[in-house]
């Protein structure tokens, strides 16, 4: 059984789309360098040449506008940033140009740009190398936001994003890059549902996306041992957001945990989900819903602090215990290496 990682899946999607559409262009810091953007751009420059795959100056705002210009003129683009934080320099081009162009010029032209943003975690990424601003992007009409959790979805959604005539923000959590899946699962499905019930249970509904979905899966077994099962809903697409899957699940489970573990709480995606559900007539929960996010504090650098800054498995389990009203036996998880995705990982990036 061959396996493929998340970053390989991205590499595969990029390679195939670059072959499929000779007009497609890729650029960003690190695209052509020795580390190939966490391996995701491996081989691209060799196959497609340095005009279509290029390094850029450190000029995030202009490069975004340049991407918009190219996409307006028949060259769809994939732009990439090794940290989402750097992209803060480009909010004018993103919000005032990319998001609005199609609309504000009366639908005369559109901006097929895909913007890959990598979110850092652990090993001292610190306050300015670990931010995840999906709720910012989702707040802006004209943008789409996807945050796949699995290699197959990364593959599929990156291809869909590239073919989308609109700007799409594609957010990858750094800790997903090494996650593996069976190669045969990597297939392009044009009609894939976005939000998906990926695991079924009965005691409560968990809603998550990106790394938080992996975190929910990682406690499935402990819960099973404790005779607790849950519906796990993986959002995949943050905007548009399809809450119908959640609503259906809640009709059965009547208990809700939203794990929005890579976001600050205020005006988060989690808040938006709760707000939408609260306004629904037909949802009756047995207990108030739970929303777990990062604290409303910037990420500290020191590993001594991050241990308590990031959400621990045991915290989630404790909350679930309260939500379903059952005791859960906790294991000593999370006490070592809480700041790296796996034991192979050698810092800093």
């Amino acid at each position: 059984m061959t396996k493929i990682t998340y970053s390989q899946a991205i590499n595969k999607a990029l390679t195939e789309e670059m072959s499929r559409n000779k007009k497609l262009v890729c650029f960003g810091l690190g695209v052509n360098d020795s580390l190939n953007f966490f391996g995701t751009t491996k081989g691209l420059v060799k196959k497609f040449g340095s005009e279509r795959v290029f390094e850029t100056p450190t000029s995030e705002n202009a490069m975004t506008g340049i991407g918009v210009g190219m996409s307006l003129n028949n060259n769809p683009c994939v732009m990439m940033h090794q940290r989402l934080d750097f992209f803060l320099l480009a909010m004018d081009q993103l919000v005032n140009s990319a998001a609005k162009w199609h609309y504000m010029f009366g639908g005369k032209n559109s901006v097929p740009i895909t913007i890959r943003l990598v979110v850092g975690k652990g090993w001292g990424q610190g306050p300015t190398h670990s931010q995840s601003l999906q709720s910012w992007f989702a707040h802006i009409p004209g943008l789409k936001v996807v945050m796949p959790s699995f290699p197959s979805d990364a593959y599929n959604l990156l291809k869909k994003s590239i073919r989308d005539p609109n700007p799409v923000i594609f957010i990858e959590h750094r800790w997903l890059h090494n996650i593996e899946q069976e190669t045969k699962k990597i297939k392009y499905k044009n009609k894939q549902n976005l939000t998906e019930l990926i695991s079924k249970g009965k005691d409560f509904t968990a809603v998550s996306y990106s790394l938080s979905t992996i975190e929910m899966l990682s406690i499935k077994n402990v819960l099973k041992i404790n005779k607790i099962s849950f519906d796990l809903i993986d959002l995949k697409s943050i905007k548009p957001l399809d809450i119908s899957v959640i609503k259906n699940s809640l009709k059965r489970t009547k208990r809700l945990l939203v794990l929005d573990s890579i976001s600050h709480p205020f005006c988060s995606i989690g808040s938006e989900i709760l707000s939408q559900l609260y306004r629904e007539k037909n949802i009756k929960l047995i207990k108030p819903p739970l929303l777990k996010t990062l604290p409303d504090i910037p990420t500290p650098t020191s590993t001594f602090y991050t241990r308590d800054f990031y959400i621990k498995k045991n915290d989630i389990l404790n909350d679930i215990s309260k939500l379903v009203g059952k005791k859960i036996k906790l294991k000593n998880s999370d006490t070592i290496l809480h700041d790296v995705p796996d034991s192979n990982f050698k810092g800093p990036f």
Binding site: E51, S59, I66, V68, M70, S97, Y103, F105, G106
Partner: protein
């Protein structure tokens, strides 16, 4: 172009821009053009002569003061008027207003309202031309304040680095809103020299003689189409009316009456008219006829608005995403 025709065209487009803008100014107080509107009366020569020197397949893109660039690239005054009045027949369906004009048929890719915002977009358009191996260029119009935004430098750096066929045309009218350039940029520093230090081939043109100005642009554009590179042109110019809106604003006191007078005295359209007569290219009566024709044409385009129906929000609310 045959010589006579050439002179005529340059005169005509300048005059048309002025007449259109004066029409807007005179009608603005009726409160039917309900959007912030930046007129370029006094600055038409730059748009006219560069616009005429552009080929249809050349691209242009502009900033908030863009009526002239839109028209000079071939944009329809009908669609401009309709846009300002908020009708669906406007070039941007009334959604964009005065600061968001577009005319893809003539490769006028758009004008935007945030200072310097359209600059990198122009550079990106040029990258596409390069990829498609097209022998055309992108003309990026900017004001003098545009070079205060960092994105200008980021964009021109990339454009030079990749040898893109880009011509920056900086209309230096000395003011950003009510603030003189000396309060925003170091004294004695010339914008075009700065562009040159970035690595662009840089030029300082004057607008006094629009016919000469056309020739200079024409030569330059030919050069760029042949040998793609990034060029920068600064032209000193002057707006006669207020920054935004239809009125004379000299009473506000931020600029000297004598400066306004000085510039009006060397008005490029007046100059052109006199030049054509003095050099016996056209007779006074011919020019007067031409003027009248232009005025009639513009009036007709304006009056066509009367026929338009009020558009409905529900018709555009699906336009946020392309489907």
């Amino acid at each position: 172009m045959i010589k006579k025709n050439f002179f005529k065209k340059i005169y005509e487009i300048q005059k048309k821009i002025r007449v259109v803008e004066e029409k807007i100014a005179s009608q603005y107080s009726k409160n039917k053009m309900r959007c912030p509107t930046h007129l370029s009366i006094g600055q038409e020569a730059v748009a006219a002569s560069s616009g005429l020197a552009l080929q249809k397949n050349d691209i242009s893109i502009s900033y908030h003061r863009s009526h002239a660039h839109f028209l000079a690239k071939g944009g329809s005054s009908k669609k401009l008027f309709a846009e300002l009045h908020g009708f669906e027949e406007g070039c941007s369906k009334g959604i964009g207003g005065s600061m968001h004009l577009v005319d893809l048929k003539n490769n006028f890719y758009g004008s935007t309202a945030i200072v310097s915002n359209s600059i990198p977009i122009g550079v990106g358009l040029a990258y596409s031309l390069k990829l498609a191996k097209k022998k055309n260029l992108v003309c990026i119009y900017i004001g003098d304040a545009a070079v205060e935004e960092g994105v200008f430098f980021e964009s021109i750096n990339f454009s030079i680095l990749k040898k893109l066929p880009v011509i920056f045309i900086c209309e230096n009218n000395f003011y950003s809103v009510y603030t003189h350039i000396k309060d925003r940029q170091p004294e004695k520093r010339k914008i075009y020299k700065l562009a040159s230090a970035m690595g662009a081939t840089s030029h300082l043109f004057t607008q006094d003689n629009p016919f000469k100005l056309f020739k200079k642009f024409d030569e330059l554009f030919k050069k760029i189409r042949k040998n793609p590179k990034t060029h920068f042109v600064e032209v000193e110019t002057y707006r006669y009316l207020e920054h935004c809106g239809p009125n004379d604003d000299t009473l506000l006191g931020y600029r000297k009456l004598q400066d306004v007078k000085k510039w009006k005295k060397k008005d490029p359209i007046d100059f052109s008219k006199k030049y054509l007569i003095k050099n016996k290219i056209f007779k006074i009566s011919q020019i007067n006829n031409l003027d009248k024709k232009i005025t009639n044409f513009v009036d007709k385009d304006f009056n066509y608005l009367n026929k338009l129906k009020k558009p409905q929000f529900k018709n555009i609310s699906k336009l946020v995403y392309k489907r």
